[in-house]
Subunit: 326 residues, 2 copies
């Protein structure tokens, strides 16, 4: 790759690959709160959203682009923290920060970006009270191999990575806490418990997505940014199918409720379907992450939750994840 | 291309091409004003910035991604106008609107985007008073052929497309006008004069950039988003050179001053350098756009403005373009 600081970034894709592109706007008080989330967490989470989209296609992330709009009174330390979180995650996934907004920032320095050949890509929006970050991630996959949402067929088995509900449980705890107890803006990462990490420093399942794509196992795949019920309905809508899910199969995270596991967002786990004939090729763990069978895709549309004894069923309501609007 | 509405857009580059990527944040009251610019103009200008970056590399634009943050009280008619302007320019350059922010917008419809297979990609930011648009453009160029800023060599001739200063002249007129005379929010395009079009509906010089790149003529190229003096200094800094410019050679647009031509931004003309041995291969017009010789790249750093008789010279001050902050 070359051309940083030029009119465009120039990126060479691996031979025979096609480009995967995703953009995500992260808005203060919608996707994060300054009092709830240390700046480092915000940087990490903003990039996680894009990496998770690449993971959901089974792609390899290559480069990220960051556009930031910052309120005038935001301390430089916040910006430094944001970049620490963003760049640490980028390094972990070998993703280059290849550019962003080329507008100059009057009176603002962005030390982490100026190191090496990187340039400051910040604009200070004097009149905007909220932080906005638009993150674009470029990835790639061998031509024709990217996993879509639309490929699920009746009879396919449904699987999910990791456990569900922990991120949502942290969020509900934050909502319930008296406001004077919810200033986590300086909370160090080392003080977070395992369940909390799921919310503050989620791990995009890039390695799992790639493993599955390399073996051409999934017929459809999506990441759980808006909750299991919501994402399963996306797969079914795009594939023209229905699904049933076995209630006892849902991997509820320790400390989370069944409802949080079923509808909670910001999980960044992968939900995927596999033809029944390849069911046995899905191991218990992929790249260290537990994989759980959940249910089956059906010809008839509609989502159903089936009881442990498989004798009763109820409609699985799709509850959209509204982030922090509640 | 496929995969719209999936986790990522999937884009296939022409065989042997590499990807060119650029993002530009357009912020209300920095890059446009709601009272000065009809919504259609804003949509057009937001996309122009990205297309012009692709043009400056000699690339072919392929796809655009749009993330929008809109204040709660913005009328739907404004959003419709924005998309009309954005999509009309996209169609003209055969650029697909391939995606954007995947967040759902509660209570907002975006009719132009929902047509066909496109999806509404809007989020309404209840608490942000300003409009923000982040536009990403993906282009491509045959491997190794994209024109950088850094390739200028001593002795190279400097050229510029079109004429300069018209966009800036319109802006200065807007600043001078009494505020009650500057509501152009509903100004129809048909009432704009030729000079005004340069400001309201600038044309990215994609065809010129491609023509030059195909013939491998330019050693360096940049678009004039921040003014001629500023962009020439970018080329010189990146190339480790200086330059002199013949004052009478500068193509001052009708109605513009010499200073506006020298320092005015938002022009979207191309500034490029060509080895002296290939000077004769540059025609008077490329793709219908007049091309003017401006001066020469020098070994010694520093920018100079040379008089008509080539006998006197003065330092060419680099004046950064601050958009509408003044």
């Amino acid at each position: 790759m070359c051309g940083i600081g030029d009119d465009c970034a120039i990126l060479r894709l691996p031979s025979g690959h096609e480009a995967l592109l995703t953009t995500d706007f992260s808005l203060e008080d919608v996707h994060f709160r300054r009092s709830w989330h240390p700046a480092e967490t915000v940087g990490h989470r903003c990039l996680t959203r894009g990496l998770s989209d690449i993971a959901a296609m089974g792609g390899d992330p290559l480069a990220a682009f960051l556009s930031l709009a910052l309120p005038a009174d935001l301390p430089q330390s916040w910006v430094d923290g944001f970049f620490r979180g963003f760049l640490a995650l980028a390094r972990r996934f070998k993703v280059t920060l290849a550019g962003g907004d080329i507008a100059q920032s009057p009176g603002m320095t962005a030390s982490p970006l100026t190191r090496g050949r990187r340039r400051a890509l910040l604009r200070r929006t004097e009149s905007t009270g909220k932080i906005l970050a638009d993150v674009m991630v470029l990835g790639s996959a061998p031509r024709g191999s990217a996993v879509l949402r639309s490929g699920a067929c009746p009879g396919d088995d449904i699987f999910v990575t990791g456990s569900l509900g922990a991120a949502s449980a942290v969020l509900h705890r934050l909502y319930r806490a008296p406001s004077q107890q919810t200033d986590f803006s300086t909370l160090p990462r080392t003080r977070l418990k395992a369940g909390d990490l799921k919310h503050y420093y989620p791990t995009p399942r890039v390695a799992v997505g790639r493993w599955l794509r390399e073996r051409r196992l999934p017929s459809a795949m999506i990441d759980i940014s808006d909750g299991l019920s919501s994402e399963l309905s996306h797969i079914c809508e795009e594939s023209g199918t229905g699904a049933w899910v076995a209630a006892p199969a849902i991997p509820v995270a320790p400390g989370a409720t069944f409802d949080e596991a079923l509808h909670g967002g910001d999980e960044y786990e992968l939900l995927f379907t596999v033809p029944a004939s390849r069911h046995n090729r899905i191991p218990d763990r992929i790249a260290g992450v537990p994989i759980r069978w959940l249910g089956t895709i059906t010809r008839k549309t509609g989502l159903w939750l089936v009881s442990a004894d498989m004798k009763s069923r109820q409609p699985l309501e799709r509850k959209g994840w509204e982030h922090f609007s509640g």
